[in-house]
């Protein structure tokens, strides 16, 4: 059995995919990181202190984990959802009663979204209380604040999509808040967001595009920069 594995790991096909052998020595462990597209965001060695769970509480990583869960469940939800009035609502009903595991899918997306707002906020608190915003990490903190705002906006734009009473009035309350910006700016912002003066189909399409394309793409780029800077600023 063991030799079978060893032959597999030594085979040309395997080696063409993973250039390193089993991560048994420090050399191959380092290779496991820097020969891997996904893992090479990490340095090959990290500070012992920063790996301790009680230092970061894993909150930054979990924020990213939630984002991944949201991307996967979100893509699946998009298969069953049409952003039009009143179809959007009936698609929700179909998810509940017709699509297999549709309700479960929706639940996962919903709870992960709420959790992400909370977890990102807690991550910010962790960074603050460990003093990790101080030079040279100032700008990564700023990127973080933008990420927090984007996380909230992502959650909020998604809130309208089910097109139920909760969605409609939640968004009405929020966009009315935006109207309070003085000198007519608020009215313009609200008009731009809603594509009109009331929350209607135009608003639904705009929120859909923001929620499923613009904001996730922007947030992904910011996260890339955020992670890259964690390393450039000398690690956690």
């Amino acid at each position: 059995m063991k030799s079978l594995w060893q032959r597999l790991f030594a085979s040309q096909v395997w080696r063409s995919m993973f250039r390193h052998g089993l991560p048994e020595s420090n050399r191959t462990r380092a290779e496991a990181i820097f020969y891997n597209f996904f893992l090479h965001i990490h340095p090959t060695k990290v500070r012992k202190r920063s790996v301790k769970f009680s230092y970061t509480w894993g909150l930054g990583g979990l924020s990213f984990g939630l984002f991944i869960v949201l991307t996967v469940t979100g893509a699946l939800l998009m298969l069953y959802y049409r952003p039009s009035v009143p179809q959007a609502y009936w698609d929700m009903k179909d998810l509940q009663y017709v699509v297999s595991s549709g309700q479960f899918l929706r639940n996962m997306h919903r709870w992960a979204a709420h959790a992400m707002v909370a977890v990102v906020f807690l991550h910010m608190l962790r960074v603050f209380y460990t003093g990790s915003y101080r030079p040279p990490k100032e700008f990564n903190w700023v990127i973080g604040v933008v990420l927090l705002v984007f996380t909230i906006l992502l959650s909020y734009t998604g809130y309208l999509l089910p097109w139920d009473q909760l969605a409609f009035w939640g968004i009405s309350v929020g966009t009315n808040m935006a109207r309070a910006v003085p000198f007519g700016v608020g009215d313009n912002i609200s008009f731009l967001l809603l594509g009109g003066n009331i929350v209607g189909e135009n608003a639904l399409v705009r929120f859909y595009v923001l929620h499923c394309f613009v904001l996730p793409v922007a947030a992904t780029m910011l996260m890339g920069i955020h992670f890259w800077r964690v390393r450039k600023d000398g690690g956690v």
Partner: protein, 232 residues
Amino acid sequence: MSKDFNVEQTRDAKQVPTRIAFIKGRTAARVRKEDAEMVMTFPNLVVKEIIAFEVMVILLAVLSLIIDAPLEWIANPEHTPNPAKAPWYFLGLQELLHYFPPVVGGVILPALAVMALIVIPYFKINIKREGLWKEHRRETFLTLVVAVGIVSLVLLLFKVYAMVMPTLIMTGFMLTPYFIKREHGFIAWLGHRPLSWWVMTWFVMVVVVLTAIGTLFRGPEWGWTWPWEGIY
């Protein structure tokens, strides 16, 4: 004659001692720090990341099996629910709107909060984060009392008891080490907290209190309701 190296001093934000680096002419100006103990990323970090992610997915899945996402009746512009609430992370703001005029509660205060968060790292005042009471105790005391007095008065004027309470409680904790000097224990720990710590903790308390009130304690006409009378 020119030297072939420069001497630079640097003060790392995390560690107290000043480090001196000799930087040779042609090498990059970088201070290497090898004092912290290092471990291999694989497996030490990678394995933890995988476990954390899996535990999270399991918790989410269990939660999703137990509790269903809400779906109310189809949107109806004619029928306004009472109260109409935004999602929970905006209920702190909505609670502010209840006290202040819309421009203040809905625009100025949140904009100030985001701006304050952004500039945090650019305050170079107390980078070593020394305790509030370390120096100038008397001046600090007076400034604090005046500042808290003004803030509380303004808040009282608008009847924002939900913000006055956390403010006064925080001030109580802040002042304790001033009056009661201790070498060890909780009070000594409080005494070592820097001003930035107090401001942030106050901010978090206010956010939590306002959000909790908006979520759990507000019913029709934004009136006070106890959670057992129904959560709106």
